[in-house]
């Protein structure tokens, strides 16, 4: 009974081939793989060519599962079993499992692809990080190299402006000064962004006088706007608190960048700054800042992208806004201060940037601290001597010029790291300035070896003249005994402030 069913449901899934020990076909059919017309099994498919040695050993059993075989007219996936005998008759059994294995292939396909994708993603992230880091390092290095020339050019332009110049020369010098300033800001912007992207921009909170800050910004931009033939209008809410705690420099940068942006894109009409108080709650003051202009405006489609760095929105659009980095920095700083920014603008109808941010209100006792910030430069009984270790001639000259016009310091200049210790053994110094660009020596190394000289030397304040402004750099300096950093580009005031602060 079973036999009948077996025949009825017999699946033609197997093929049997009989070969001798050399592979000559004794008996076969064409049911799965075409072989009837072949003389030897080796001619049937290269698979058999490569295993034909196995037929020479009798009484063996070999199992090849999932073998993909391509023929002219078809491809199959089969399990192939071989039994060798000692009567020179070897049987090859081919079980066609193409369908079964094709289903399995799909599973394997999905599994492998998802595993590989996750690995590639990991790698991509790694690559991206590397690239990002490279970019940030590049930016930092590049801007460092610009710092010495910018410092010198600013300082000497300033000294030049104090000489007798005719009005034409004064005009030219004004342009040089303002171009130099511009350059300085742009480089600082680039560095700020590099810091932001590497997570190193931290807010530096102090108590400050808000009204004073706003008035300073107002006067500064009043002059700038007038030069561009624009009206500059301001309005400050009388309810604004006088003192707040926050990063004064960054708040100024937010407002300044917005005004700069407005002035850049307004050829006639006015630019305005309005600051008001939203509320004071839980010792926090929420400020509302509006910067409006009557300039070319910003198309709605561009409202989001203008906050991205390096955007030059839509090169085909007629208002070719080359925004630079300012707005990207504003957006980031606001986010750090739990603030937000939005734009109300349409092409040709001017723009209004509106932001809200909150800062801590100052406690009474803190308010007094801030007043005595300005340093007056007193004269000393005896001139102080400064040892400058710096290999940039531009910086050497700049410092020489600043100190000689101040008149309270002797300057002793060394360009080589090797000369530092021998010089200090023979000469006194009241303060030591070390540049971070000395060849073969880092400022920290030099500072450490100075400190090791003697207890007297240990007490000499050492300041770094540095192009490095990242948090880690500053920490590194502190650890090596460097008291403070004068960052390049610097001007006469920032140099003298630091010298007077540390000189004994």
């Amino acid at each position: 009974m079973l036999k009948a069913y077996k025949e009825k449901y017999y699946k033609n899934n197997f093929q049997y081939i009989l070969v001798d020990s050399l592979g000559k076909i004794i008996d076969t059919d064409d049911s799965i793989i075409p072989s009837e017309s072949k003389y030897s099994i080796q001619e049937v498919h290269p698979f058999f060519e490569s295993i034909s040695d196995l037929f020479t050993i009798s009484n063996q059993h070999y199992d090849f599962s999932c073998v993909n075989l391509d023929f002219e007219k078809k491809s199959i996936i089969a399990d192939i079993v071989i039994y060798t005998h000692d009567n020179n008759e070897n049987i090859i059994i081919i079980e066609n499992l193409t369908e079964h294995y094709n289903r399995y292939q799909l599973t394997a396909q999905t599994r492998n692809e998802s595993v590989i994708n996750s690995q590639i993603l990991e790698l991509k992230n790694e690559y991206l990080l590397e690239k990002e880091q490279f970019k940030n390092n590049f930016i930092a290095n590049f801007s460092h190299q610009l710092r010495n020339p910018i410092t010198a050019s600013a300082i000497f332009s300033k000294f030049l402006s104090n000489t007798n110049l005719n009005s034409e020369q004064k005009n030219y010098l004004d342009i040089i000064l303002s171009a130099n300033n511009d350059l300085k800001y742009r480089i600082n912007d680039i560095l700020d962004l590099a810091k932001i992207e590497s997570g190193q921009l931290i807010l530096n909170e102090t108590t400050f006088n808000l009204k004073e800050l706003l008035n300073k910004i107002a006067t500064g931009y009043q002059i700038f706007a007038t030069k561009q033939n624009l009206d500059f209008e301001t309005g400050f809410d009388p309810k604004l608190p006088s003192y707040l705690v926050g990063d004064r420099y960054r708040l100024k940068q937010i407002i300044g960048n917005l005004i700069n942006n407005a002035i850049n894109f307004t050829s006639k009409g006015q630019v305005s700054l309005h600051v008001s108080l939203n509320y004071i709650r839980a010792e926090k003051a929420s400020l509302h800042i509006e910067v409006a202009d009557t300039g070319i405006g910003i198309d709605k489609s561009e409202h989001d992208s203008i906050f991205e760095r390096f955007t030059k929105v839509n090169p085909n659009s007629q208002n070719n806004r080359n925004i630079g980095l300012g707005l990207a920095i504003v957006k980031y700083l606001l986010a750090q201060m739990n603030g937000n920014i939005s734009i109300e603008s349409q092409s040709n109808l001017g723009s209004k940037f509106v932001c809200n941010l909150s800062l801590k209100t100052a406690k009474e006792s803190h308010k007094l601290l801030e007043v005595s910030h300005e340093i007056v430069y007193p004269d000393f009984d005896k001139k102080k001597s400064i040892l400058l270790v710096e290999d940039s001639e531009l910086i050497q000259l700049s410092i020489l010029k600043i100190l000689s016009s101040n008149g309270n310091f002797f300057l002793n200049i060394i360009s080589n790291g090797e000369d530092v210790i021998p010089t200090l053994k023979n000469q006194e110094a009241d303060i030591i300035l070390i540049s971070n660009t000395i060849q073969r020596y880092s400022a920290e190394e030099l500072a450490r070896s100075i400190k090791e000289l003697s207890t007297a030397h240990k007490k000499i304040p050492i300041l770094a003249l540095s192009t490095e402004v990242f948090k880690e750099d500053l920490k590194r300096y502190k650890r090596s005994g460097i008291k403070d950093v004068i960052s390049k580009p610097f001007d006469d005031k920032s140099l003298l402030d630091k010298l007077y602060k540390y000189v004994k």
Binding site: H45, E49, Y62, S65, V67, N68, N112, I116, Q119
Partner: protein
Amino acid sequence: MTTSKKIVLLGHFGVGKSSLIRRFVENTFSENYKVTIGVHIFKKVVEVSNSDSISLIIWDLEGQDDIKKTRSSYLLGTNGFIYVFDLSRPITFENLNSELEFLKENFPNIPVKVVGNKMDLVTKLYLKDYSEVFGHLVDFFTSAKTGSRVDNLFSKLAKELL
């Protein structure tokens, strides 16, 4: 005279074993990944010298993350191995040493060529960074995509098999 030799390609999945073979046999390449299951067998006759040619029967194995998982019948009677890894995926060469050790122990006199594939995806700097891991072990840096060093690989092995 033509002799026939069995070459087996081994390595993790997706490293480009099938692609290297396709480049060598048909001189084509596809970006699409079709996972090999079991084993796929190809043949190409190469001239080794004026009088000698060699019929390479190439076994393209399903990728394994551990060589020990390979079905042992596939490795029977192998004349030469090509161990392939993917330069762009460190996981495929992390255990290169022990993988090769397995071959050395079980197939002591059979030549093995070690191949870092997908050369087109990585930079010189990257190679340098990783050279500690595989530098001294690799025989060929190939790209199935560009075809770089693929023929050299197979013909070098073929010569050694004669």
